[in-house]
């Protein structure tokens, strides 16, 4: 019971923050629905009812769009027709596809955060990791596909790790602030990708755009379901395994202990005989490695070829996500699923109700804002709001 309470405790504020964000989101939908509001002077009651119905429809569409229609799924499973099954479960699998890179990048941010390093360079580490995997595929294309896959993912991971190690090394040795160096290295990474994709070796034949050859010709991350138009690949499984591994590493190993100690209090870590610089470099390399792993799966599993816009801001969304999750691996998985669901569900919402997809970004931003201001959430829900330092100074 006590364990259960301790497990739920950290989730309370994020959950309330999500609720608050959806609440504010519905108010926003209501007041921007000018067509409906036009009737307000003549029929206020009806307008409000219609507004509530509209908001309800929009959120309903979002949920169906993200997770699928349960009755339809049940019916489809009975039907044995792969096409029908695929159509029914497609929203759910798309949510998982969207969540996969977010889990990797979220874990990357969290590992660095845990050791007190603010890695804003996950975006760059992600795309360079994908680039590393791309290059490896084209260099070793003669290898049998299963081996080629392992080599490519390994190459992508190492590329990301190396890219993360650079700012870690600079911080540990020279004190260069990682926020500055990682932001700058994001630009360098983006330019490196662009440069690489302009080379004849990588570029798709006959294309002027910076797009790589189609990697799926040589290798592809295996799909989980053999159904038409279902893109869900084993990247999600690896992502979940990595969440467990990261959790084990942070909380159960001596290296993880050092990382957390250095993250909370560098002075005390030094006093206790730990190498603070070593922790920072290790954390940044691990962080970059996770991002690179995510990039490899994205390019080899979801996209199929390297492009300059492979990452839809995954590295930056990951920062928000890690904040929402309190840097806990399980929380990151859940938060990534939420963000993935918002992304896929938003599509159907837009189609069905005409509410622009931008509302999704609006809600995501609100979630983060409410998480960042736990006191605000506590006071909205009248949980005995008390400042953090109170009670400790008796």
């Amino acid at each position: 019971m006590k364990r259960l309470r301790r497990a739920i405790q950290p989730a309370i504020v994020p959950i309330l923050a999500i609720l608050s964000a959806f609440l504010v989101g519905s108010v926003f939908m209501f007041i921007t629905d000018l067509e409906n509001l036009a009737h307000f002077p003549t029929d206020p009651g009806g307008t409000i009812v219609a507004g509530i119905v509209n908001v309800g429809n929009a959120y309903y569409a979002m949920i169906i769009g993200a997770f699928g229609d349960p009755t339809r799924i049940i019916a489809a499973i009975g039907s044995n027709d792969p096409k029908v099954i695929a159509a029914a479960i497609r929203p759910l699998t798309e949510t998982l596809v969207a969540a996969t890179p977010l889990i990797f990048t979220g874990l990357a941010v969290a590992v660095a955060f845990r050791s007190g390093v603010f890695n804003i360079g996950v975006e760059g580490q992600f795309i360079l990791g994908a680039m590393g995997a791309t290059v490896a595929v084209l260099v070793f294309r003669g290898l049998p596909p299963p081996i080629l896959l392992v080599v490519a993912i390994g190459a992508g991971t190492l590329t990301g790790a190396a890219w993360g190690f650079i700012p870690g090394f600079l911080k540990a040795r020279t004190g260069a602030h990682e926020v500055i160096t990682t932001i700058m290295l994001n630009y360098v990474a983006a330019q490196l990708v662009l440069f690489g994709l302009r080379s004849d070796f990588l570029r798709a034949p006959g294309s002027d755009a910076p797009v790589s050859k189609v990697l799926w010709t040589f290798v592809r991350v295996p799909l989980i379901f053999d159904l038409p138009a279902i893109r869900l690949h084993y990247g999600i499984v690896i992502a979940l395994i990595m969440a467990a591994v990261v959790s084990w590493f942070i909380f159960k190993t001596t290296k993880g202990f050092e990382l957390r100690a250095a993250g909370f209090n560098l002075h005390a870590a030094r006093y206790a005989g730990m190498s603070a610089g070593g922790s920072i470099m290790l954390a940044m390399a691990l962080s970059g490695g996770l991002a690179g792993l995510g990039g490899s799966f994205e390019v080899l599993g979801t996209a199929g070829q390297m492009t300059t816009d492979l990452s839809a801001g995954f590295g930056f969304n990951a920062i928000a996500l890690a904040l929402l999750a309190g840097n806990r691996p399980l929380g990151i998985v859940l938060a990534a699923l939420l963000f993935g669901a918002l992304r896929t569900g938003g599509g159907l919402m837009q189609v069905k109700t005409g509410i622009p997809l931008d509302l999704i970004v609006f809600i995501q931003a609100l979630v983060i804002m409410f998480v960042a201001a736990p006191l605000l959430v506590r006071s909205i829900f009248r949980m005995n709001a008390r400042p953090l330092d109170e009670g400790s100074t008796i």
Binding site: T254, A261, F264, N265, H267, Y271, A272, G273, T393, I394
Partner: protein, 502 residues
């Protein structure tokens, strides 16, 4: 102005911080508010200053009932606070700092009327003998003067009641004496003073009346002329307390720590330690006395491997250690109780059991092949909590939520949990209550007698140095300017040396 706090009760989740506390202070009176950490002093003062609202009870000024919704109302009612941690802007000068928040303005643009503010600051400074340069920048001022700026600030706002929260914690003995003179002057001028402390000697010296708090309630109110340190200590702790450290004569053995002409630089590349030569032998306690900032911090950091020695020789247990890492030094059997336990000794957001293994997590039985053994850690930490009487709900409690005394016990429990040759303790009892001080001292003496460890204690408190030191070395200006036998040392002799004379 006569101030009364009547039957004040304040409850926090799980704690009754103030339990029907009643205190009064008359015009021109100095009330000493004495109590251990966690006795409820700070909560009571936060209620008085409008930061918290009491669950029940009332505040009376000149017999009239008042409620403070926020600190501004308390200030308007004439209550001035001087906090333990100063609330000053480092880059402001004295006049700006004092006027901040109550500036008078002139002209159509509302510019700060510096001239008249400066005039009042100078007047107040002279009237109460505060001796503050109105144009000095805060960051250039010594701590003792910054405190006087805080007092000036309260006076500038026309405070009739001045509350000083642990004012002597940051002061040297001489600065403390000056502060007492200022307090007496203020009282003569009709200001009421509430002086919060856990130091017995101070209330006896400066207070007209002493109210003792214990576990959130008033344990008694006494007249300083009719009481003794022992009686006060007993009221405060609730039982008899030994104020003298109980220890026999030392039996010095072989040299464990040897320093020969050691020079150490500080962070700004100035020479902080200028040629220290000192031997500490097994089975003896050497106490280094000195005012803060005379090279003690840098010397200790050099001994434990956190700072490299610029020149000179150092050996521990016969092994020369010139550029050894902190871990290497610790592995030689050296315990280190750092000066600032919150910054260096503990990781506040981590649990007690995690703090307990902070410097031995990489060894058996706490881990093997890089994986922590939670069971072993928990059982050893639980043993440490029991052996060192650490008051905590559980070993999974965050270290930061413990009281200062218990935090220090966690540090001591960790450091003393393995066989030791040398103990280096910096300000081991700073900010602790009488009960904890007594306990930590007895543990240190036990290390000397039972394990025959060599012990080096650095302290700025004369009482502590005299109580525990078998030999007393006084540091001044980066040098050891005198070594006295503990039995022969007097307050006067050590005090003179601390000031660089003698």
């Amino acid at each position: 102005m006569r101030l009364e706090l009547k039957d004040i009760t304040k409850r926090f989740p799980g704690v009754l911080a103030n339990d029907r506390i009643t205190i009064t202070v008359d015009k021109g009176e100095v009330l000493g508010l004495l109590g251990e950490n966690g006795a409820g002093k700070t909560t009571l003062m936060n209620i008085l200053s409008g930061l918290y609202r009491p669950d029940s009870g009332e505040i009376l000024i000149e017999g009239e009932r008042r409620t403070f919704e926020d600190p501004r109302q308390a200030i308007a009612a004439g209550i001035g606070m001087v906090h333990q941690h100063f609330q000053l802007v480092p880059v402001f000068d004295v006049v700006e700092s004092v006027a901040l928040g109550s500036e008078s303005v002139t002209g159509p643009l509302g510019t700060f009327d510096r001239k008249s503010a400066r005039k009042r600051v100078v007047e107040l400074s002279e009237q109460y003998g505060l001796n503050v340069d109105p144009d000095a920048t805060i960051e250039d001022l010594p701590v003792g003067v910054r405190q006087r700026v805080e007092i000036l600030k309260a006076l500038y706002r026309k405070s009739d009641v001045l509350v000083l929260d642990e004012p002597s914690a940051v002061l040297t003995p001489a600065e403390t004496e000056e502060l007492f003179d200022i307090i007496r002057g203020l009282a003569e001028g009709g200001t009421s003073v509430i002086f919060i402390t856990h130091k017995l000697g101070e209330v006896l010296e400066v207070a007209d009346r002493i109210t003792v708090l214990r576990r959130g309630a008033v344990a008694g109110t006494v007249n300083p002329k009719e009481t003794t340190r022992e009686q006060l200590a007993q009221l405060m702790v609730g039982r008899d307390v030994d104020l003298i450290v109980d220890k026999g004569p030392s039996k010095p053995g072989e040299v464990v720590l040897s320093l020969k002409d050691v020079f150490v630089m500080d962070d700004r590349f100035g020479m902080a330690v200028k040629g220290v030569t000192l031997d500490v032998r097994a089975g003896e306690i050497v106490a280094i006395a000195g005012v803060q900032g005379n090279g003690q911090t840098e010397l200790v950091e050099a001994i434990v491997g956190l700072r490299t020695i610029d020149s000179g020789e150092m050996s521990i247990g016969g092994e020369a250690v010139h550029r050894a890492s902190p871990r290497h030094i610790a592995d030689l059997g050296v315990a280190h109780i750092p000066e600032d336990r919150i910054r260096d000794g503990l990781i506040a957001p981590m649990t007690i059991s995690e703090n307990y293994i902070l410097n031995s997590y990489h060894r058996q039985p706490y881990s093997s092949r890089g994986v922590l053994d939670r069971k072993e850690i928990a059982s050893h930490a639980a043993q440490g909590v029991q052996d060192f009487d650490i008051r905590t709900p559980s070993i999974e409690t965050m270290a930061g939520s413990l009281s200062g005394g218990n935090q220090q016990k966690v540090v001591v429990a960790r450091e003393f949990s393995r066989p030791l040759k040398l103990v280096v303790a910096s300000q081991p009892t700073r900010g602790l209550d009488v009960g904890s001080i007594e306990y930590i001292h007895s543990q240190i003496v036990a290390q000397r007698d039972d394990s025959g460890a060599a012990i080096l204690i650095v302290s700025t408190e004369l009482d502590e140095v005299l109580a525990v030191g078998d030999r007393i070395a006084v540091m001044f200006g980066g040098r050891i300017i005198g070594i006295l036998e503990g039995a022969e040392a007097t307050r006067e002799a050590v005090g003179l040396l601390m000031g660089g004379e003698g």
